[in-house]
């Protein structure tokens, strides 16, 4: 018998459950909102169809590495920022982008906390927020995305994760995979 245990894996269901738990906690605690959710049936090789609005990306490193993203339209970004900062935002500005970045940090950061219980300690980068029209995101490492859509009034917020198990225990394994944004 061997004492070497198999490395823990993360299933699609684990990621979906972690996203739902984390996002619901952030929405109830920071916004006082309940947000119904549903898993997004994504094509394997495409994270999102060309879209417009805001996308915020954050890198995860460690035994499992990849990217988390949050996307929504400008209206929802302004609504959430107004609630978070108790101010009125009607157009996307620096403060709105910063608020979206922090929401990303909290949701994906808590997904990371949930997954760490299975696979061990992971690292989190600082978020990058993009606001534009007709863009599409891809990961250079893997095309397998998992996503959950949250209903916020008449708008939607999508949380996507793209994670792969790190196979090489070198410094490279701790680097974030490049993300490609096509505009």
């Amino acid at each position: 018998m061997s004492n070497v245990s198999e490395p823990e894996t993360i299933s699609n269901a684990d990621i979906v459950a972690a996203i739902v738990t984390s996002a619901e906690e952030v929405f109830s605690t920071m916004f006082g909102m309940e947000v119904p959710s549903e898993e997004i049936p994504l094509p394997q090789d495409v994270a999102s169809a060309p879209a417009s609005g805001i996308i915020s990306l954050i890198g995860l490193t460690g035994p499992w590495a990849g990217t988390g993203s949050i996307s929504c339209n400008a209206e929802l970004a302004c609504t959430l920022s107004s609630k978070l900062l108790m101010d009125e935002f009607t157009e996307v500005n620096e403060e709105v982008l910063d608020a979206v970045a922090e929401v990303t940090n909290m949701i994906i950061g808590n997904v990371k906390n949930v997954l760490e219980a299975k696979v061990g300690e992971m690292g989190l980068s600082t978020p990058t927020v993009i606001y534009g029209v007709n863009f599409q995101t891809r990961s250079a490492q893997t095309h397998k995305w998992t996503g959950v859509r949250f209903k916020c009034g008449s708008e939607e917020l999508c949380v996507l994760m793209c994670l792969v198990q790190s196979t090489v225990k070198t410094e490279r394994a701790s680097l974030q995979f490049p993300q490609i944004v096509r505009m």
Partner: protein, 122 residues
């Protein structure tokens, strides 16, 4: 009056924490802000505070490194410091407390959690 240092790379979180602090019954004086640990150390060369709220994941110098610097140098060895971070693993929380953090609040947080922690440590 209690002067406070808030260190977080998110302007949104700094604004929220300012609002929460002003809502407490604690007489809050000046609130100074920094976007990372290095900026905080620069500010502390010329300013004195009686409480610090530190994020962990920040560019340039993270909150744990800043905490280490503060605990190693007078007059900050006994400064009440609360870590406010998305990092929720037991390992990170214990590390922060072992390094001398006075308290730990995980993001997302509500105003009551911050207020309770302030009452506990001040």
């Amino acid at each position: 009056m209690l002067d406070v240092l808030i260190v977080d790379d998110s302007v949104a979180i700094r604004k929220i924490l300012q609002r929460v602090l002003r809502q407490t019954e604690i007489p809050i004086g000046n609130i100074i802000e920094a976007g990372d640990g290095k900026e905080a150390l620069e500010l502390l060369k010329t300013q004195t505070v009686g409480l610090a709220l530190l994020d962990i994941n920040m560019p340039n110098m993270d909150g744990l490194e800043l905490l280490g610097h503060l605990r190693a140098s007078e007059p900050w060895t006994n400064l009440p410091i609360i870590m406010v971070s998305t990092e929720g693993s037991q390992t990170k929380v214990l590390k922060a407390l072992e390094m001398g953090a006075s308290g730990y609040v995980r993001k997302p947080f509500n105003a009551d959690q911050i207020k309770e922690k302030l009452v506990e440590i001040l």
